[in-house]
């Protein structure tokens, strides 16, 4: 079964201490299904494996003793014979995470300069999940997100210009300015939304997966093998639509992966105060699908789990539930004062910044030089600056756009007193006629 193969894989950790074969109690380590060992992660105590004593570690005999330490032990990094990514892949992943981080930081700036409005939910800290999963997809695969969707859109390939314009409410936005921050859609890049209510995207994603099965089995088009990813948070996992869809997807073996971005908070509601059984990955089994827990701050681990779950879906073996342990560095939205989260918790995850960790990995394994990474960062800076300039220069939607997309078939506006369809009246479409 897929679950056991995930468990048996020894995954190199990005944290400096590695213990192959020893039981891992580190909150930042493997994607093992045996969750009971990891409960410490959720109680806030951090347990790390120290291989060796003191700071002169890596040489000489390594001890595999599990010892609880208050602070990470500094040691020189071991040599890893086989890196988990090629240089090209590594740079692609790095660039995508930098794009996500830089873009979101720019959103914060723009919001406070009154260039974007309303509810804006930023993804800082969770980049490994988006990059790890979305970059493992093919172009034809679908993704479905929530209101925290900017970075999913960017990872999937929606140009930064279009996303920024949409946030500025301009006509050049990916949704013509009609959706906004919480409703990013792209037909070209197969992004099915952008949803403001939690849970309501999950059935939509399930429907896209159903379409793949239908295309193959009813329409007999075996060239269709699109997998769908549904992203949502920990709070959503207490919602009926989550459970209802897990049931249907397992029942019909739909090609879908349900990706839980468990950042431990639903606005101000602590996951543990809301959830009777906090281990979300366990709930997969109740519906007959593998439930997997992965360190969502480690892009390589996420990617590994993603590849396996996506392959499982694509070959017709059905859905997987993946719980990514992650954290958002900013508040729920830009309007959230974020007063409830304790500094200790924030710090604990701050040191596990997925970008810093991956940068370190690339450098230590000779996959990239500082210059390479700096070049990427500069490139992304320019892309994001350009996106802002483009959005700034773009026009606001004219009034005539108001009614254009209410109906795919505008005859839905009905027949007016003069016998003509309303939509035939130019004044109507220009928004100056009465509705």
């Amino acid at each position: 079964m897929a679950a056991s193969s995930l468990a048996s894989r020894a995954v190199a950790s990005l944290s400096p201490s590695i213990s192959t074969g020893a039981s891992r109690d580190d909150a930042g380590s493997s994607s093992v299904v045996g969750f009971h060992k990891r409960s410490s992660a959720f109680t806030g105590r951090r347990v790390r494996i120290s291989s060796g004593h003191g700071s002169s570690a890596a040489h000489g005999r390594r001890s595999c003793v599990v010892a609880a330490t208050a602070a990470p032990v500094k040691e020189s990094p071991p040599k890893i014979a086989d890196a988990l990514v090629t240089r090209e892949e590594g740079l692609e992943l790095y660039e995508d995470m930098i794009l996500g981080r830089c873009f979101e930081d720019m959103c914060a700036q723009m919001y406070y300069r009154s260039k974007m409005f309303g509810f804006v939910h930023l993804y800082n800290g969770q980049e490994a999940v988006s990059t790890g999963f979305v970059k493992a997809l093919k172009k034809d695969d679908y993704i479905c997100s929530t209101y925290r969707d900017h970075v999913h859109a960017l990872s999937k390939g929606v140009p930064a210009r279009q996303v920024m314009s949409e946030l500025f409410g301009k006509a050049t936005g990916c949704c013509r300015g009609q959706g906004g921050s919480m409703h990013m859609f792209s037909k070209e890049h197969r992004l099915l939304g952008g949803f403001a209510f939690i849970g309501e995207g999950i059935p939509v994603a399930t429907g896209a997966a159903f379409n793949t099965k239908y295309s193959r089995e009813v329409l007999k088009d075996l060239s269709v093998d699109a997998v769908t990813l549904a992203f949502f948070g920990d709070g959503t996992c207490n919602n009926g639509q989550f459970f209802e869809c897990l049931n249907m997807a397992a029942l019909w073996k739909l090609p879908i992966v349900y990706v839980v971005e468990n950042n431990l908070w639903a606005i101000g509601m602590d996951h543990f105060r809301a959830t009777s059984v906090p281990e979300i990955w366990k709930k997969g089994e109740a519906f007959g699908m593998p439930g997997v827990h992965v360190d969502g701050m480690d892009v390589l681990k996420v990617r590994e789990v993603a590849k396996e779950a996506i392959a499982r879906a694509r070959r017709g073996d059905g859905p997987t539930l993946v719980e990514c342990e992650t954290y958002r560095y900013r508040g729920h939205s830009l309007a959230d004062p974020d007063e409830l989260r304790k500094p200790e918790q924030k710090n604990k995850y701050a040191v596990r910044d997925p970008i810093a960790a991956f940068k370190k990995y690339l450098l230590e394994n000779g996959l990239a030089s500082e210059a390479d990474l700096k070049a990427i960062e500069k490139k992304i800076d320019e892309i994001v600056e350009d996106a802002v300039e483009f959005a700034d220069a773009s026009p606001l939607p004219p009034r005539s756009q108001l009614l254009e997309n209410v109906f795919a078939d505008p005859r839905g506006f009905g027949i007016g007193p003069d016998g003509k369809y309303r939509c035939e009246d130019p004044a109507f479409t220009a928004g100056t006629a009465e509705v």
Binding site: P203, N405, A408, D409, P410, G412, P417, Y421
Partner: protein, 393 residues
């Protein structure tokens, strides 16, 4: 030629078959299919639309020898089956639609013919399977979602309002949602409050949705086909007591227009606007009214959203008096919206205020006497029309 329309027996009178003089079924079968371009709906397409000016025509008459007799549920099934045979992306999902054949037999035999995936038996999770139907429609299928009873779709309100209604708009026109949401609703025979809901009013404000109500086998089949072919999300309201209505319908294929109303009986004294089951109560009352020398014009509005203001307006311009007879609740119902639309558009042609007979703002009681008192009865219609035509109100 006479079209015999059998009226379901009203609960307050003894059952009997009532026949009416030929109803001038006023429809215009607009050919769909290649007419609209498939290109992105980001800008207003130049639509090759037929002007609705030819409203005076009747449909092709169905002689006693042509066409075939059919019950309403079967007409719905026929329409659905034809569309499924014509377009392999059309699929049905809902509770007991497959092996059970549908709780009102609208999908009977379809699972055997088209397979379990095209006629999908879902678990009991309206919100999620409606959402699944929407996601499937966004990505290329044309789904027909059945609510076993329309009332169950209240559980799917999140998906119907936020996703079916909105996604075309919030995506800037990128995704269309060609979904048909249908099921039996309305007040039945002592089915209890929750199974006797009048949901037209609940969904009517949702922007982006179209709503139609069928009332005869002829328009049931035609509207079913039109709804499936439409690229808009359409709610098709069927009535739980009309499924066994029998009528002779054409053998040839026909598709009705979603946005048009149906002139059931031409007249000059008063315009009576109605839909669904109340159409038959109005026709029943009309028998008495005609005997007493009145000449009501009866229009089955069919399109609950949007209203066909042309047909309605032409009638009002002729009669100057309007009575709306609906099964919807008084508060915020279809009648309430229709009155407002009539006042806005045809004020100058009215001799008096538009009147409305609606059902009571009560949860439908179980007891037969109370249930009868909840909905409008033919006797009330007669009284109201007489009052209006005698200038008493």
């Amino acid at each position: 030629m006479a079209q015999k329309v059998l009226v379901p027996c009203s609960s307050s009178s003894s059952c009997g078959n009532v026949q009416f003089s030929p109803s001038r079924v006023h429809t215009q079968a607009i050919a769909f299919g290649g007419g609209l371009s498939q290109s992105s709906s980001r800008k207003n397409k130049s639509l090759a639309l037929k002007a609705v000016a030819a409203k005076g025509e009747t449909s092709a008459p169905v002689t006693a020898k042509s066409g075939h007799e059919i019950l309403l549920f079967d007409a719905l099934r026929e329409g659905l089956e034809e569309e499924m045979a014509r377009d392999p992306t059309v699929c049905v999902m809902g509770e007991d639609v497959g092996h059970y054949g549908g709780s009102y037999k609208v999908t009977k035999g379809l699972a055997e013919k088209f397979g379990d995936l095209r006629v999908l038996d879902t678990p009991i999770c309206e919100n999620s399977f409606t959402g699944m139907g929407i996601g499937a429609a966004m990505t290329g299928l044309r789904t027909v979602v059945e609510g076993m009873n329309m009332g169950f779709l209240l559980l799917a309100y999140n998906q119907i309002s936020n996703n079916a209604g909105m996604l075309h708009y919030t995506s800037g026109g990128q995704f269309k949602i060609p979904v048909v949401i249908r099921g039996p609703g309305g007040v039945g025979k002592q089915l209890g409050a929750e199974h006797s809901q009048r949901l037209e009013s609940y969904f009517q404000s949702v922007p982006g949705l179209q709503m139609v109500a069928c009332s005869t086998p002829y328009n049931a089949k035609g509207l079913m086909k039109a709804a499936i072919r439409s690229d808009n999300p359409v709610i098709l309201y069927e009535h739980v007591l009309l499924y066994n209505l029998k009528e002779r319908i054409p053998d040839e294929e026909y598709v009705l227009c979603l946005e048009e109303a149906e002139l059931v009986r031409p007249g000059k004294d008063i315009t009576i606007l109605t839909y669904s089951r109340m159409r038959h109560f109005v026709l029943q009352a009309a028998k008495t009214l005609v005997e007493r020398g009145y000449d009501p014009e009866i229009i089955d509005i069919r399109s609950l959203k949007p209203f066909d203001l042309f047909t309605i307006g032409n009638s009002i311009k002729k009669t100057h008096k309007v009575l709306i007879v609906e099964e919807c609740m008084r508060t915020g119902g279809i009648g309430a919206s229709l009155r407002a639309a009539i006042v806005d558009n045809f004020w100058d042609f009215l001799d008096g205020r538009p009147e409305c007979l609606s059902s009571q703002d009560v949860p439908t009681p179980y007891a037969a006497t109370l249930e009868d008192a909840t909905v409008v009865q033919p006797a009330q219609i007669i009284v109201k029309v007489e009052q209006m035509l005698q200038g008493l109100i």
